[in-house]
Subunit: 333 residues, 2 copies
DNA sequence: AATGCGACTGAAAACGTATACCCTGATTTT
DNA sequence: AAAATCAGGGTATACGTTTTCAGTCGCATT
């Protein structure tokens, strides 16, 4: 591949001049500029981003760490980031952490080796101190979907306690008194926070949510199916099912329908996230809107801003609150 | 961030020695190696991938060009690539081309500037010659979801003609004689090839698929809804609906159900792709399995292999054939 | 005619790493 | 005991850019 030196030689100018042409530098004559430009076209010249990053100490690139790409939630997250990087001509480096400590750590470190300027990280397995250390080391380090007080201005997160409260309150307002919950068995904050919110709502209403009405499984469709089967097997009675996310809700719904249980006539279901499938499944899923695309875009903007030298304002935080989306999977009792 | 020079200084050795330690090079004593390693840990040293890429002329990175991340199909594609890059410690650089000529071109060029070793490209808008030129310039350039004879050994693609034929044949075998089609309005090969396959099947069976039974729209849920509404508005009669993909199928199904048309009792539906939602929607969608994750993994392996110097074998090609997945959206007449 | 100035261009150093080549001292071979 | 080998380690160059610092030239100003 042609280098700046080849261009310089062919155009009969120095390296410096070619470099100035490339970067629209100031001090180069009009005809020289044109000549160099045509030669660049002819030779199909492409600046070497690595060399450039090395000398300028900046890379116009942003690293993204997510769990798994084929999860629609993370795909949407990545898409949100992409909308802003595209506008700013920033390249995305993507790494999957697959909810495993070692892998997440490795993902971040690899990104670090590539000297990305900014970083949007979704980490559930790394502990606060590790993340705080990264944040202190990398100006453009932003966490999404997690809140750590010590680096509040680097966190873009969702209020899961309120989210849990909202879904339970809605069910209760619709007349439901017997709730069940299928949740994620991952040892991370989200399920616990949502449960906290749910318990807040139930106790406010004078209800209880006994542990026997809670099933844990992987937060995907299969987990939803499994959890639902377990719940059915115990023979417990409930009229409203709260799910950790839409995928679990859909899985549970499928199992119920296979068992001849009408949704929502016999059992109402509420999901969480509002991913695409919430609109596709039948009945359409009543769920909590998780504005992840917007949040991801915000995180990317923030990361890029911090990376470019803007000091993060102290005390600032980026909390989002979910809202309920009413569709057809909840019946009024 | 600490450099190799800092390490060398702190350890009282030369740059070369440190470099040898990093790369598990041969000529360094056991105790020196240990000393250097501990110092690297202490200083939190991370090799600079840019500098390394510059001097070695290789980058251990793979570029991916897709249309839009939030499309589940592309998310799955990216995930397929990711499974193999992770195994081989290769970093993914991701760019979205959004089915626009300029953007796709720019995506590839940016990746080129980053000197990615390999590239898995999904391009529908770039012409053959442009892609052939890239393929000739970049050893690790592989196309996915497209077939260009001149660079057959760089193409991992699906036989869409057979796919179209299979879906139509299945409908016909189930006793359907009146077919309708909702397809993508993008001016790319796929819809045309699938239509060709469908027409093959209908004429073999002595049937016809008049243009009045075909509606075009964007290949997503909304497009499916729109196309279905148009089809209903014309008042044409059909008992089986073939869709360009699962999203359109789901959109169409939703519209039918909203109009009180029973699926599959009154109208059968066949999708294409077999993405997640095919299992979620009710009735579960009978569809064509597009093994995109497997294909993407294959493409990534291929790209990495070619990039590492293995010459592509002439005449080799990587054609995949879709298979029908029978679920609940087709009734026997 | 000397001076200054502005516009343009070039030479060279730097970024962080890998590696070919050279050097030293010790061990083995004859 | 001299020569040959070898393990261990250092020196210096190159990779492709950007950028600082010096020029050089022509022209207008005194």
């Amino acid at each position: 591949m042609a280098t700046i030196k080849d261009i310089a030689q062919a155009a009969g100018v120095s390296l410096a001049t070619v470099s100035r042409v490339i970067n629209d530098g100031p001090k180069v004559g009009a005809k020289t500029r044109e000549r160099v430009k045509t030669i660049m076209k002819e030779l199909g010249y492409r600046p070497n981003a690595n060399a450039r990053a090395l000398v300028t100490q900046r890379s116009a690139s942003l690293g993204v760490v997510i769990a798994e790409l084929h999860d629609p939630f993370f795909a949407t997250l990545a898409h949100g980031v992409e909308t802003v990087t595209r506008k700013q001509n920033v390249q995305i480096l993507l790494s999957a952490g697959s909810i495993a400590r070692e892998t997440e750590l490795k993902a971040i470190e690899t990104l670090l080796e590539h000297r990305v300027e900014a970083m949007v990280v979704h980490s559930k397995t790394l502990d606060d101190d590790t993340l705080i250390a990264f944040a202190n080391q990398i100006p453009g380090f932003v966490l999404i979907n997690r809140y750590i007080p010590a680096i509040a201005n680097r966190c873009v997160w969702l209020d899961n306690v309120t989210g849990g409260r909202l879904m339970a309150e809605y069910a209760i307002r619709q007349g439901h008194e017997h709730l069940a919950l299928i949740s994620s068995h991952y040892q991370i904050d989200d399920p616990a926070q949502r449960l906290e919110g749910i318990r807040l709502a139930t106790s406010n209403a004078g209800l209880t949510l006994p542990d026997s009405m809670i099933e844990y499984a992987t937060p995907d469709q299969e987990g939803g199916e499994l959890a639902m089967q377990n719940l059915l097997a115990t023979g417990t009675h409930f009229t409203a099912l709260l799910a950790y996310n839409d995928a679990m809700a859909a899985g549970a719904m499928a199992v119920m329908q296979d068992h001849g249980i009408d949704v929502p006539e016999q059992v109402s279901i509420i999901g969480y996230d509002d991913v695409l499938l919430a609109k596709y499944c039948r009945p359409k899923l009543t769920t909590l809107r998780y504005p992840i695309e917007m949040m991801a875009a915000k995180a990317a903007e923030l990361a890029l801003k911090y990376a470019s030298g803007t000091a993060p304002e102290e005390g600032l935080t980026f909390k989002y609150t979910p809202t309920i989306v009413k569709r057809d999977s909840v019946a009024r009792l």
